[in-house]
Symmetry: C2
Subunit: 143 residues, 2 copies
Amino acid sequence: MTVLFSKKCEYGLQAILFMAALEEDRICSAEEISNKLNIPKEFTSKILQSLTASGLIESKKGKTGGFRLAIHPSKIKLIDIVEAIDGLESFNSCVLGFSNCSPKNPCPVHKEWGELRNKAYEMLSSETIDKFKEKTLNKISVL
Amino acid sequence: MTVLFSKKCEYGLQAILFMAALEEDRICSAEEISNKLNIPKEFTSKILQSLTASGLIESKKGKTGGFRLAIHPSKIKLIDIVEAIDGLESFNSCVLGFSNCSPKNPCPVHKEWGELRNKAYEMLSSETIDKFKEKTLNKISVL
DNA sequence: TTTTAATCAGACAAAAATATCTGATTTTTT
DNA sequence: AAAAAATCAGATATTTTTGTCTGATTAAAA
């Protein structure tokens, strides 16, 4: 079990935080990201490709090619990455797996979980990723 | 993606909440639970078997057999069911998937996520499942 | 005592998630 | 012009999760 996001999404979050922590406009290859973050190389490529398709990052082909953010880190929030990869469905589904969980047909923990879920959403959308630069660099330096 | 727990765990939570909402000591079959909760029949059996092994419920074999709680609902918390099925690892893992996430090597959202996680844990262990009886009955009546 | 209806164990199957491979294309460097 | 190093697309493989099947056993009811 992952905690909340799929592996793909976890890796995507890590990769974009990593890119945001680099010098601006620095292009880095899938291999570099794979090495720095210990993500399987080919899987890294796939995820970066899909993030390119979603418009969060952009790619440069050929020798000296690679990836970089397509949007300034001051305009990207963690939730944007989650949305691009896993979607936001989990923020709208019942934690106990009941169908039609809603204020009208609440599950036993509907209210309590709803509050937690909203806080999680807020946390992921409260700050843009440029704010995480230093923390990301510290974290990656020990990986 | 499930929200937080595996399907197995979601079904297990539903099943035990259901049993706790029945008359005390009432034995119900896997088939009944499967029908009431719309859980695949054979999968229901498997999950109930594993919950039996973990000691939360007990089984009676043969005709008129089935399952019932092995512990009084006033002594079972949601987190006990989660622990029996999914384990508690997700409450100790990094939400961004970084390794060695700890106060010494925190991920970018370590503090914030830690607080949310603790609240989720508290929510799941704050009340015993006898408290959910009425809400469960209401919910199941519309399934 | 036979039939019926249940658990149980273990194998099996299908689907989804995760990971890898292959080869084509692109672009810079030599 | 050729070599090198990258993305990219699509197929394939592996692993995990989810779900199903079969047959043995158990125990009550007919």
